[in-house]
């Protein structure tokens, strides 16, 4: 039995989620329903929930504000949002879970399924740290990213990453400290969430940090040499765009 708390400023959203959770096959007990950050803080202190369904946009405030006001986070967080590109990007960066409104029954089911497989609550706290770091850090190049691995999660500064290399449905991440991390995510996943001013997909299987490109050598598509000495082929169709970016 998991204790759940729903925070949303719109009643119909609370109603819909509540209805879906009640009809769910997962054993969820809804403890409280809150409409403001203040209410939520009190409830969290009182009932110590296992899951927090948190709306991103809460009137003039955000769900992130609520989290930042808490001393410790020892529960799982699932964000709910209707449409917020930037918030979603941040959430994905921290590998936190989210549901898009109107919430689909199947997706809710998947989220709860994933939650049950979570090893410990420590991971949640770590992910939220990453989220806060990225919010505080205005500098786009020093964002932190939560990488899901077999053991759990690894948090890496994006400026630590030299390049991503695709290997079918896996991606190898090569870091400055010469570590190679293998993740079961496609290279496209990283391409989508990472800042396009910082990382560039030079090839079907290569996503590189623009800051570490040492030289570009001419050729049909040409190739680039990275600061760790590795040479990477540039796809013919990516050449023009790469050169445009490198020039500016």
């Amino acid at each position: 039995m998991l204790k759940a708390l729903i925070v949303d400023d719109e009643q119909h959203c609370i109603d819909r989620l509540e209805r879906l959770l009640r009809s769910s096959t997962h054993n969820i007990q809804i403890i409280a329903l809150c409409k403001t950050i203040g209410e939520a803080k009190k409830e969290i202190a009182k009932i110590t929930p296992d899951i927090l369904f948190l709306d991103v946009q809460l009137g003039n405030e955000t769900g992130f504000d609520l989290l930042s006001q808490l001393n410790s986070i020892d529960f799982e967080v699932i964000f709910t949002t209707s449409y917020d590109k930037y918030a979603l990007k941040a959430i994905k960066f921290s590998a936190l879970d989210y549901l898009l409104k109107p919430i689909d029954n199947t997706e809710l089911d998947n989220a709860l399924q994933k939650l049950r497989q979570q090893k410990s609550l420590k991971e949640a706290s770590k992910k939220i740290d990453v989220l806060f770091h990225n919010f505080k850090e205005s500098n786009a190049s020093s964002k932190r990213i939560a990488i899901p691995t077999v053991e759990g999660f690894t948090m890496i500064d994006t400026k630590e990453i030299i390049r991503f290399q695709s290997d079918a449905n896996y991606t190898h991440i090569h870091t400055l400290s010469r570590k190679k991390i293998t993740v079961s995510k496609t290279i496209k996943y990283f391409e989508d969430i990472l800042d396009e001013n910082m990382f560039f997909r030079v090839h079907k299987s290569h996503l590189v940090n623009l800051g570490y490109i040492k030289t570009y050598t001419k050729g049909k598509g040409g190739h680039i040499t990275l600061s760790d000495g590795i040479q990477i082929e540039v796809a013919v169709r990516r050449k023009d765009e790469l050169l445009k970016i490198l020039r500016t």
Partner: protein, 599 residues
């Protein structure tokens, strides 16, 4: 060519008189003694050296050069130009005797310019005469004449009659050699006149002898005989056996021609005796020839044979001598030609070098022009590319405008169908529908910002769209998407939602009005560098009866899509197309687009 050779002997006869008087061994010895006592290197010694070399001309010409070189050095040192000129002329004489015409010419030319510097007309005229002789020897008659004429002029200027006579005679000989006998006769007559005025019997004899030969050549035998006889008389008077022998022989020959064999024999015998006396082999040979013919006529065959043999022997030895000098002359000529050839070769080489430079320069200019042309073309191309890029930007802006126009249209159509759905179905299905619709809307919102998405993503959207429409049509809509094997859906970029208006058309104008289930088949194929969508439905087809209806059939969405494809074709410079076709059952739409790959 025996005739010119004989004539030349006559010239030499005259010239030798000038070169040296009497050659005496004791004079040579006394000169040598004097030289040994007079060792001071002054003009006196130089003069003696020249005289010594001059004495050696015919006896030992090869020994003469060392004395001449010393004379030249001393003269130069003392600034004695005449001495230098005399020495050079003597050097020429030595070479001439040795039949080295080339070096002889060289030395004479030096002597000539030196003599003109002094100036010394007498010396000049003698050198001109020698130059004329050499050119005559080389059969360069024009140059010989040139020199002889100059010789004649200087002699006349000096008032030296003897030289003038020699010049006139030599000119006449050249005319005879070139078979211009009349001209020759005229010059000889002038010479003879002068000689008579001078009362110089040697010259009278020599010129008369030559004149006789000229008449003989003209076929005037009597005149020739008269002149020969006169020459003989004068020669006897001055005791010149050379001229006498030569003239007697000639008389003999003419008499043979006139068949006066006895007279011929007498003359020939006289000539023979004289020739033997002076050791002149050629004239001896001539005498024997005449005698042989006379004996033959007299029937004394043995004597004739004997005379003929002697004639041949002597002639052969003379000819051998001549051949030797001829050979030397030929060698000289060959050497001269060789040098000329070398010079020509050098000129040719320089011409070639010049040509190569010229060709190089032309090539360079051509290269420069070509380079400029390439540069210009490249620049124009860049300009063109820039223009194209600008146009593309304009087109993309237009495209963006079109995309944002389309979305509200689609959204409102969908909202309409939601309303329609809710009024007909239960709440659970309405909710299902709504969730799907919100997902689709979100995806459309996100993708409408992009100019292209992967085929995979686009087809997911289409799938979602058709699921929604299927719910609305109470599941009487079935669909199937087929992708060609040589298409990579993840690497192929397409403009988002290009198919949607056509699918919508098929659903609402084809399948919705139809009784029973409808089917939509979407096929994606590759055609060269184009991507082809084929949408088949088995609906009721396009309405045909009413023209107005048909017109309105092209929905707003389809019109926008047509514009999008036109602009895309313009940007990619490849012609895309849309084709709507009626089938027995339903409609087929074919859309081709430029194939674009991500990587």
């Amino acid at each position: 060519m025996p005739r010119p050779t004989k004539n030349k002997y006559c010239i030499i006869l005259i010239c030798l008189v000038h070169f040296f008087g009497t050659s005496q061994q004791n004079k040579l010895d006394s000169l040598k003694n004097e030289l040994q006592t007079h060792t001071l290197k002054d003009t006196i010694r130089a003069g003696m050296l020249i005289e010594l070399a001059s004495e050696m001309t015919y006896s030992e010409p090869n020994e003469g050069f060392s004395f001449i070189e010393e004379a030249i050095t001393i003269s130069k040192k003392n600034g004695w130009i005449k001495g230098e000129a005399l020495a050079q002329r003597q050097k020429g004489n030595l070479y001439y005797v040795l039949a080295d015409n080339l070096n002889a010419l060289d030395a004479y030319q030096q002597a000539l310019s030196l003599s003109r510097k002094i100036p010394d007309k007498q010396l000049e005229s003698s050198i001109l005469s020698n130059l004329g002789n050499i050119h005559a020897d080389l059969k360069e008659y024009d140059r010989a004449l040139e020199n002889y004429r100059a010789y004649l002029e200087t002699s006349q200027a000096m008032g030296n009659r003897a030289e003038e006579i020699k010049a006139l005679s030599n000119i006449a000989i050249i005319y005879n050699d070139t078979e211009n006998f009349k001209e020759g006769v005229s010059y000889l007559n002038k010479a003879l006149e002068l000689a008579k005025q001078e009362e110089n019997d040697l010259f009278i004899a020599a010129v008369t002898n030559n004149l006789a030969l000229a008449y003989k050549n003209l076929g005037e035998h009597q005149k020739a005989l008269d002149h020969y006889k006169e020459a003989v008389a004068i020669a006897q008077k001055i005791d010149n056996k050379y001229i006498e022998a030569s003239a007697l022989n000639s008389i003999g020959k003419i008499n043979v021609l006139l068949k006066n064999y006895t007279v011929a024999e007498t003359n020939a015998n006289k000539a023979l005796t004289l020739s033997k006396e002076i050791g002149a082999m050629e004239w001896e040979a001539d005498s024997w020839e005449v005698l042989s013919k006379v004996h033959e006529q007299n029937g004394k065959m043995a004597e004739a044979m004997n005379a003929y043999k002697k004639h041949i022997q002597l002639r052969d030895s003379v000819l051998n001598e001549e051949k030797k000098s001829e050979l030397t002359r030929k060698e000289m000529q060959f050497e001269m030609e060789r040098q000329q050839a070398v010079a020509n070769e050098e000129i040719k080489r320089q011409q070639l070098v010049k040509n190569i430079y010229l060709i190089g320069a032309i090539l360079l200019v051509l290269l420069a022009i070509f380079g400029y042309y390439i540069y210009k073309r490249r620049r124009d191309e860049l300009e063109k590319k820039k223009n194209a890029e600008f146009n593309a930007k304009v087109s993309e802006t237009e495209l963006k405008a079109l995309r944002s126009q389309m979305n509200p249209h689609f959204i409102f159509n969908s909202l309409n169908s939601i309303s329609d759905f809710i009024s007909k179905n239960d709440i659970q299905q309405a909710d299902d529908y709504l969730v799907k619709f919100s997902r689709l809307t979100r995806a459309i919102l996100e993708n409408s910002e992009k100019k292209s998405i992967t085929l995979n993503e686009d087809l997911e959207l289409m799938e979602l769209y058709m699921q929604i429409e299927a719910i609305r049509l109470e599941n009487k809509l079935h669909h199937k998407i087929t992708i060609d094997q040589d298409i990579e859906p993840n690497n192929t970029l397409v403009p988002p939602l290009i198919l949607q208006p056509f699918i919508e058309n098929s659903i609402w104008h084809g399948i919705a009005p139809k009784k029973g289930d409808g089917h939509i088949a979407i096929k994606i194929e590759k055609e060269g560098d184009m991507l082809k969508y084929v949408v088949d439905d088995n609906g009721v087809g396009q309405p045909k009866k009413n023209m107005r209806e048909k017109k309105s059939n092209g929905s707003f969405g389809i019109k926008i899509t047509k514009s999008r494809i036109d602009i895309l074709s313009h940007i990619k410079n490849k012609k895309g197309s849309i084709n709507l076709m009626d089938k027995p059952e339903g409609v087929r739409v074919e859309i081709t687009l430029p194939l674009e790959l991500q990587f």
